[in-house]
C-alpha cells in the first residue's frame, strides 16, 4: 500500500473509532434493537391473555357432547401454540369482555345429524385484536378437523346404505398434491438444498443492513471535514486527491464493516428468534455471503462518494444519501422478490444497470450451483465500485470543498 494512503487511513480510522457515541449509536439499532424487538414482541404476545367463550345455545345433548369434545381438543391445540388464555363453556350469549366466541346456535345438532344438513357454528373475534385472531384461527382449524371426521362418518353411512365398499379417504381425496423442488439442470433438489435456498433469501435481506453504516461514515468524510474546518489546510499539502479519496473510502469501509459485522449478528439473532426453524447455513453460503457483504459495503460507500464530495454540507449530504438509500432499498427489495433472471431482456437490463442488483444475483446463482455466473456478478460489483471511485476522484474540487455556497 502506498505510504501516504497508509497515513490517511491511520488518521481516519483512529478519528472514526474514537467517536464512540456514533459507533455505539450505529451499532445499537441492529445489534441490540432487532433482537430486543423480537424478544419484546415474543414476550408481549405470550403475556396477552385471551378470553375465550364456548357458547352452547342449543340445549340438545348431542350438541353439548360435540361442544365438549371441541372444547377438549381446542385446549390441547391452544396449549401447543403456547398461547395464554382463559376459556369457559357457557350458555350465556353475552359477548362483552370476550375476545373469541365459538357459538353453537339452536338447531345445531338437528342439522348435524341429518345426512345432508349443514350445522352452523359462529366464530366471533373482537375487532382489532391480532391475538384473538390467532386463537380464532386455531378454533377454525379444530372445527374443520372435526368436520372431516363427520364427512367420513357420512360417507360410511352412505356406502352402507348403498351397499358398496369404499375407502372414504380415497373417495374424498381424488387428487393428492405433492411438492418438490428442482435445480436449473433438472435434477431434484435435496431438502438440505431447499433449506439453504430459503436461508440464503434471509441473508439477502440481511445484506441491506450491512451497507448502511459505511454510507453513513462516507457522507461525513468530506462534508464533515469541511464543516469542522479541518480540510482547507489539508488541500495545500502534497497529499494527492486520489489518495485522500481512497483513504476516506477505505476507512469508511473498514469502520463500516466493523459496524456491519455487529449489524449482521443482530439480524441473525433476530431471524433466529423469529424463524428459528428451517435455517440451514453451509460454509459455502457463509463465504459467499461474507464476500458479497464486503463488496456491497465497498460498492455502496463508493456510490455515496459523489454525494460526500459535492453535497456542500453535511445536512445536504445526509438528505441526498437518504434519498439514495431509499431508492436503492426499493430496488433492492424488488430484486429480492422478483426473479430477475426470468425477466425480459429490457427489464433485466434496467435492473442490472443498478449496482446493488448484482449482490442479489451473486447469491441467487450460487444457490443454483452456477458458480461462474456468481463470480461474474462479483466482478460486476467490483467494476461498479472502481467506476464510482474514479468518478469521485474526478469530482474533488477544492473551491467547492472550501467555499460556502447556496
Amino acid at each position: 500500500m502506498p505510504s501516504l494512503l497508509r497515513v490517511v487511513l491511520w488518521k481516519e480510522i483512529i478519528d472514526l473509532l474514537r467517536d464512540r457515541r456514533t459507533l455505539v449509536a450505529t451499532l445499537f439499532m441492529p445489534l441490540v434493537g432487532l433482537p430486543l424487538l423480537a424478544l419484546i414482541t415474543g414476550a408481549a404476545v405470550s403475556q396477552e391473555t385471551i378470553v375465550i367463550h364456548v357458547i352452547v345455545e342449543d340445549p340438545n345433548n348431542e350438541t353439548i357432547s360435540f361442544a365438549d369434545s371441541f372444547y377438549q381438543q381446542y385446549i390441547d391445540e391452544l396449549n401447543k401454540y403456547s398461547l395464554s388464555y382463559t376459556i369457559v363453556m357457557t350458555n350465556d350469549s353475552n359477548l362483552s369482555g370476550v375476545q373469541v366466541a365459538i357459538i353453537f346456535p339452536v338447531g345445531f345438532s338437528q342439522n348435524m345429524t341429518r345426512l345432508d344438513g349443514t350445522a352452523r357454528v359462529y366464530v366471533s373475534v373482537l375487532l382489532g385484536s391480532p391475538a384473538a385472531e390467532r386463537a380464532a384461527q386455531i378454533a377454525r382449524m379444530v372445527l374443520s378437523s372435526m368436520e372431516y371426521q363427520m364427512i367420513i362418518q357420512r360417507v360410511e353411512n352412505l356406502s352402507s346404505i348403498a351397499g358398496i365398499q369404499v375407502d372414504p379417504y380415497s373417495l374424498l381425496n381424488p387428487i393428492a398434491i405433492y411438492s418438490a423442488s428442482h435445480k436449473p439442470g433438472g435434477q431434484a433438489a435435496t431438502s438440505k438444498e431447499v433449506g439453504v435456498a430459503s436461508s440464503a433469501r434471509l441473508l439477502e435481506f440481511a445484506l441491506f443492513f450491512v451497507a448502511n453504516p459505511a454510507i453513513f461514515y462516507m457522507i461525513d468524510s468530506f462534508m464533515g471535514e469541511k464543516e469542522r474546518r479541518t480540510i482547507e489546510s489539508l488541500l495545500a499539502t502534497p497529499i494527492p486527491r486520489r489518495t485522500l479519496v481512497a483513504g476516506k473510502l477505505l476507512s469508511s469501509v473498514i469502520v463500516g464493516l466493523i459496524v456491519a459485522f455487529g449489524d449482521f449478528a443482530g439480524v441473525m439473532i433476530y431471524f433466529y428468534l423469529t424463524y428459528s426453524a428451517g435455517l440451514v447455513f453451509t460454509p459455502g453460503l457463509v463465504i459467499v455471503h461474507v464476500v458479497t457483504s464486503l463488496l456491497l459495503v465497498i460498492l455502496t460507500a463508493s456510490m455515496a462518494l459523489p454525494i460526500a464530495i459535492r453535497a456542500g454540507s453535511v445536512r445536504a449530504a445526509q438528505g441526498m444519501a437518504l434519498v439514495m438509500t431509499l431508492i436503492a432499498m426499493s430496488i433492492y427489495f424488488t430484486a429480492l422478490v422478483v426473479d430477475i433472471t426470468s425477466l425480459s431482456l429490457t427489464s433485466r437490463a434496467i435492473f442490472e444497470s443498478i449496482p446493488l442488483t448484482h449482490a442479489v444475483l451473486v447469491i441467487h446463482y450460487y444457490i443454483l450451483g452456477e458458480t461462474m455466473r456468481s463470480l461474474l456478478h462479483i466482478l460486476v460489483m467490483g467494476a461498479f465500485a472502481v467506476a464510482f471511485y474514479i468518478i469521485g476522484t474526478a469530482l474533488v474540487n477544492d473551491e467547492k470543498l472550501v467555499m460556502f455556497r447556496d
Binding site: W10, D15, S233, A236, P238, D398
Partner: protein, 244 residues
C-alpha cells in the same frame, strides 16, 4: 530586488457573479514577511486562497516559486504550507497526533523525517504536556498555536498564514513574532494577512494594503510609510483606504 516567491499579475476573481478581486498585483520577495492588510471583507482570504490554487480565477496570472497556479499545484504543495483563518485541528486526535499526521504527509510517509518535524512542532507550539491531550479540550489560542506550529514545522519555502495571531494572547503573539522571524532565518518566506496593524508593524518587512478587492499600496514598510509621508503604518493605511 531578490528572488520572487509569489507573483500575482492583473488577477480578477469572482464568486458567483460578484467580483471580489479586481486587477490585483502582488510581489512577495524571498526572505520577506509580507503582510496583506485590509479591513473585514476586503478580500484577503480570497486572495490567499487564489494564490494557493484552492480558488480558480477568471483572469490574470499567479506564480508561486516559479510555478504556475493552479496548474502546477502538486509541485508547489510540496514546498509550501498554509494556515487558514478559521482552521481547526482534528479534535479527537491529540496535539501530537495532529502534528504527526501532517508531518507524515509532508515527509511522504517517512517516519524518521516526520518525527524530526514533530519535535520542532512541539517546541514551536510550546503547549507543554497538553500536546498529548485531545485537541477538543484546547482553548482557542492553544489550538491556534498548535496549528501555527504545524504550519511551520515542515520548514516550507513559503508559509501562507491567514490571520496567524487571531485568538492568541499578547505574550503568545509576541512569542509568535519571534517564531516567524526565526522561521525566516531558516529560509521560509512568509505571506500573512491581518487587520491589527500595530501588531504587524513590528514584524512585517513588506505590506500590501487591500481595500474592496483592490491593492491600494504595496512595498516595504519603509517605502509605504514614506510614500504617504507618515510616521507609522496605521496612518498610512487610513490614508490609503481614504478614511482620513
Amino acid at each position: 530586488m531578490g528572488e520572487i516567491i509569489v507573483e500575482v499579475r492583473n488577477l480578477t476573481k469572482k464568486i458567483g457573479k460578484k467580483p471580489i478581486l479586481h486587477n490585483i498585483n502582488l510581489t512577495v520577495e524571498r526572505g520577506s514577511i509580507h503582510a496583506v492588510l485590509g479591513p473585514n471583507g476586503a478580500g484577503k482570504t480570497t486572495l490567499l486562497r487564489t494564490i494557493l490554487g484552492i480558488y480558480s480565477y477568471e483572469s490574470g496570472k499567479v506564480m508561486v516559486l516559479g510555478y504556475k497556479m493552479p496548474e502546477q499545484r502538486s509541485i508547489v504543495n510540496k514546498l509550501i504550507s498554509y494556515l487558514p483563518e478559521d482552521a481547526q485541528p482534528y479534535e479527537r486526535l491529540t496535539g501530537y497526533e495532529n502534528l504527526f499526521y501532517y508531518a507524515l504527509i509532508y515527509s511522504g510517509g517517512i517516519r524518521e523525517t516526520a518525527e524530526k518535524m514533530v519535535e520542532l512542532g512541539i517546541k514551536l507550539s510550546n503547549l507543554g504536556d497538553a500536546i498529548y491531550e485531545k485537541t477538543g479540550t484546547y482553548s482557542k489560542g492553544m489550538k491556534r498555536r498548535l496549528l501555527l506550529a504545524r504550519t511551520l514545522m515542515c520548514k516550507p519555502k513559503l508559509a501562507v498564514l491567514d490571520e496567524p495571531t487571531s485568538g492568541v494572547d499578547v505574550v503568545s503573539s509576541h512569542k509568535l513574532r519571534q517564531i516567524l522571524k526565526e522561521a525566516v532565518k531558516n529560509g521560509t518566506t512568509i505571506l500573512l494577512s491581518g487587520h491589527n496593524i500595530l501588531e504587524i508593524e513590528n514584524i512585517a518587512t513588506h505590506v500590501s494594503f487591500i481595500n474592496n478587492g483592490t491593492i491600494v499600496a504595496e512595498g516595504s514598510t519603509e517605502q509605504v510609510k514614506r510614500s504617504f509621508s507618515v510616521a507609522n503604518l496605521e496612518e498610512a493605511f487610513l490614508k490609503a483606504v481614504g478614511a482620513t
